[in-house]
């Protein structure tokens, strides 16, 4: 059975304090891994798709990386507006085989 585990469940950072969120996955035949940002009361907002070990993608203060067992979302010098829940999801085959993690709730304190 495919599994995706995110850690920590919650993270509190001071503004400017860089850190990483972890997404561990067990998926047969990984085709890709998604990262999303979700604000309260809103739908997940697409951030990145990663496909193969060693791949990296960046967007503003966020950088996502992928290994054969994990993905990391690095947040550099975060700002309060980066506060949100970050979701990862791994998929194999078609999009009907997407397995989501339960998310990391990030709070950035001014």
């Amino acid at each position: 059975e495919d599994q995706v585990t995110q850690s920590p469940e919650a993270l509190r950072l001071q503004e400017g304090e860089s850190s990483s969120l972890n997404c561990s996955y067990t998926v047969s035949g990984l085709r890709g891994l998604f990262w999303y940002r979700q604000d309260p009361g809103k739908g997940p907002e697409f951030l990145f798709t990663l496909y193969s070990a060693g791949e990296e993608k960046e967007k503003e203060r966020l950088k996502a990386t992928l290994t054969k067992k994990e993905s990391f979302l690095h947040i550099t010098a975060p700002k309060p507006e980066d506060s949100a829940t970050y979701l990862c999801a791994a998929y194999s085959g078609g999009y009907q085989k997407v397995t989501f993690g339960t998310g990391t709730k990030l709070q950035v304190i001014p």
Binding site: V4, G32, G41, F46, Q96, F100
Partner: protein, 114 residues
């Protein structure tokens, strides 16, 4: 935002009543999905569609049915709502482009079954 609109945004209903949620998209996407999101669970797939009148079950399809009579509309129906179906429901579409594969979500419907 991939042109996805969900309606209603909020719904309160009673146990045993039928409920239909609507997902409307404006960009002619072939694939559409219904997910539910509950505390302690990742997003879970209910049903999906791969074309007009072509649908299939997802991981948590019991108690739900779907219909897609037009490319732009994907309806989720709870035939007889139960309290366990209290959840946030998201519609999604998938895209495969030159810059990669993406799964986009709508803003969600908060459903409360009393």
């Amino acid at each position: 935002d991939a042109g996805i609109t969900q309606s209603p945004r909020h719904k309160v209903t009673e146990t045993g009543t039928p409920v239909t949620l609507r997902c409307h998209q404006t960009e002619n996407h072939r694939y559409m999905y219904w997910y539910r999101q509950d505390p302690g669970h990742g997003l879970r797939l209910i049903h999906y569609s791969y074309g007009v009148k072509d649908t299939d079950k997802g991981e948590v399809s019991d108690g739900y049915s779907v219909s897609r009579s037009k490319t732009e509309d994907f309806l989720l129906t709870l035939e007889s709502a139960t309290s366990s179906q209290t959840s946030v429901y998201f519609c999604a579409i998938s895209e495969s482009r030159q810059d990669g594969e993406k799964l986009f979500f709508g803003s969600g419907t908060q459903l409360s079954v009393l």
